[in-house]
Amino acid sequence: MKLVSAYPPHLRDTDDVRKVMYDVLIALTPVVIGAAYFFGWYALLLCVLGTVLGELFDFFVMRFLRKSKDFVPDGSGAVTGLLLALNVSTRLPIWAFVIGLVFALGVGKHVFGGLGQNIFNPALTGRVFLLISFPTYMTEWVDPLSGFWKSPWDATTAATPLALFKEKGIVTSYWDLFIGNVRGSIGETSALLLIVGFLYLVVRKRIKLLIPISYLGTVFLLSAVFYSVNPKYGDPTFHLLSGGLMLGALFMATDMVTSPITPLGQAIFGFGCGFLTLIIRLFGSYPEGVSFSILFMNALVPLIDRVTKPRIFGEVGR
């Protein structure tokens, strides 16, 4: 019998990082299925590629570049890869996607020191890199339900609901927006499927719940104010359902690594994201502002954490 000496506690919860990451992948499965249904095989291929290559690249970096011999894959690379795939246009070529993925994980994550160390959401870092590097590929929006086997380059394209509204004042059917039967990035169109996946994470207690509540609430209330002043700004329901808001608020802003630790901080973070998103939508030159808002707020997280430090038990005054 060999007795081990260790520090307490000697009981540990059975949960671990890998299970957290796997649960995110499970939560995103309905969205991936929806993407395949609305945008066909190529969208599905990008999702699978993102998941597989993301994890492989993460493993490669850890094992061979950072020479961590005891590294055990944890699924975090797969999550970043899949989220990147859900955030790109259906007409993005595979080579460009791979460049974006390498940028997301390489620059967005490992340059900062790897898992847990990055300031900016890696998937969004990759997306914005692609948006700036390949603006044409990233802003060609294929019509949904063109047929599963149809090549995206043969399908017809047009503007997204947000752009249509901003430029021409055309309002898309709320039902189509809700179920995802609209043009947009691969995984952002279906509010329904995103919410289903999100609820899974809520049930599994894997989410900083205050972030999406505050984010979506801010967009809803603020757009209601603008709408009441002038209907040309669009009504709150439209703003909630369109663009990348659902994907951003439910899955990107809630990334644990790049969001605040304290509940109050999370509420502030969500408010900032919501405020900036709407301001960019209404007054910016881009039709959508979710990615930029979240990245901007990511940069403020250390500051938010500092300001919202919890009061230590027994502390008198502050």
């Binding site: 000697h10 009981l11 949960d15 847990g116 690594v257 630790i261």
Partner: protein
């Protein structure tokens, strides 16, 4: 109404092995090893020499200074030697008196002189009995009880709180004491109330011990002791959390319970106080739980202080060959020992033997915020860990390093398997050492 504090966790309780087992008295050991030092205060001064014959309850060490206590022989026998043994709480070798039994069945007691009628005694007489009986806090801190019962006059103490929460997993000894020795607990409480001149006493008990709650309710009927049912949540039995739950008062940072008018005593200490004052019996034995999945026959036991852990485990059928850890205390805060010849201390509330558990590999912090939510002291364990590993001790102290009660809730919930408590303990030691020098 059930009450609780903010934060906390719900670890597996593992109390089912022993919660229905009455307290057994373990047969006398042949040899005991009695430390002259408790955790708190100065070691006692030895007043016997090798070769001396001693009786059970005879004083072998006298206090050295104010925060120090009497030490008594737990056996009737002969003092063999005084040698240095590794003290599991202080973490370094300390003087221990080795006493050997002379004959098989001799157990002659030397008791304190007492009338047994505490209501006729003065405060000073009671305190003197408690002091001379060597009573210390049996919850684990081993702080001399007579000192705790003599708060300085500027501190207005109005409430005595009895800790019957027993929130630590595996341990059931307090549960059993409340079921089997409720009358003695009550007497102990009444004695301490008299000493402290308080009108109000409360006993907090977690709602996983309903039977004990109902029993105490019957016993306490008509006495000024309020029984409070608490939500089962770890660490409900931590002093500051218990006080807050029961009274809504927050012990200030770096302060003591008496700063908010409260004195807290463990139920085991109540029994020890009663035995000292009414029976004149010095503290030479204590109740403890021997359990965990590595123990073959888990038990609640009454054991003489100084009995080696190995003998206690042997009496409980021994431990499984696959046992990975043996702990003094329960699994959340217990100290792991690798040498089973270490003796039972006055503050040892249990021995836990655990089979190997899957721990998982440590990963970097993913800022999931679970540790912050779990921390009952409202600290940010992830930050303390970070600062401690970066050796930024002063910053860590500013973030509340010294406020940490080392309950282990953060490490328990951490999905990255980070050992916050380990690094916090080390950082505290470094900080204390450097500040002194």
């Amino acid at each position: 109404m059930k009450m609780a504090f903010r934060g906390g966790i719900h670890p597996p309780q593992l109390k089912e092995f022993t919660k229905d087992k009455p307290i057994e008295t373990m047969p006398l050991p042949n040899k005991v090893f009695v430390f002259l030092a408790n955790h708190a205060g100065n070691p006692s001064k030895l007043i016997v020499s090798p070769g001396d014959e001693v009786k059970t309850g005879q004083i072998i060490g006298v206090p050295d200074g104010y925060i120090s206590s009497y030490v008594h022989s737990p056996l009737t026998g002969r003092v063999v030697e005084v040698k240095k043994i590794f003290h599991p709480v202080l973490g370094r070798p300390m003087d221990a008196v080795v006493i050997e039994r002379i004959s098989e069945d001799q157990d002659q007691w030397m008791r304190l002189d007492t009338s047994g009628d505490f209501e006729r005694m003065t405060r000073e007489e009671i305190l003197d009995l408690v002091r001379r009986a060597g009573v210390v806090g049996l919850g684990g801190a081993m702080f001399p009880t007579h000192v705790k019962l003599s708060p300085p006059p500027e501190k207005k103490v109005d409430t005595l709180i009895i800790n019957g929460a027993e929130c630590e997993s595996v341990l059931t000894i307090d549960h059993r004491l409340m079921l089997e020795r409720a009358e003695e607990i009550l007497l102990g409480i009444l004695i301490m109330m008299k000493v402290l001149k308080v009108e109000k006493a409360m006993l907090g008990i977690e709602d996983n011990k309903r039977d004990a709650y109902e029993h105490l309710k019957r016993v306490f009927k008509g006495y000024p002791v309020e029984l409070k049912l608490l939500k089962t949540k770890y660490p409900q039995g931590a002093e500051k959390q218990l006080i807050y739950t029961l009274t809504g008062r927050r012990v200030p940072r770096g302060g003591l319970p008496m700063d908010v008018g409260v004195i807290v005593q463990n139920v085991g200490t109540c029994v020890a106080v009663k035995e000292a004052v009414i029976d004149g019996k010095p503290l030479v034995e204590r109740g403890l739980t021997v359990s965990g999945d590595g123990v073959r026959e888990p038990k609640n036991l009454m054991v003489r202080i100084g009995t080696p852990v190995s003998e206690v485990l042997e009496y409980c059928g021994g431990i499984d060959e696959k046992t990975e850890k043996v702990l003094l205390g329960g699994p959340m805060t217990g100290i792991s020992i690798t040498d089973l010849s270490i003796p039972i201390l006055k503050g040892t509330s249990g021995i836990t033997a655990l089979l190997p558990r899957e721990t998982g590999v440590q990963k970097p912090c993913i800022r999931c915020s679970r540790c912050v939510i779990a921390c009952p002291m409202n600290l940010q364990p992830y930050l303390l860990y970070l600062l401690a590993t970066k050796r930024r001790y002063d910053d860590a102290v500013n973030e509340g390093l010294m406020d940490c009660i080392e309950c282990g809730s953060c490490s328990y919930v951490c999905p990255s398997k980070i050992e916050h408590v380990r690094h916090i303990k080390l950082a505290k030691n470094v900080y204390r050492a450097t500040r002194r020098g």
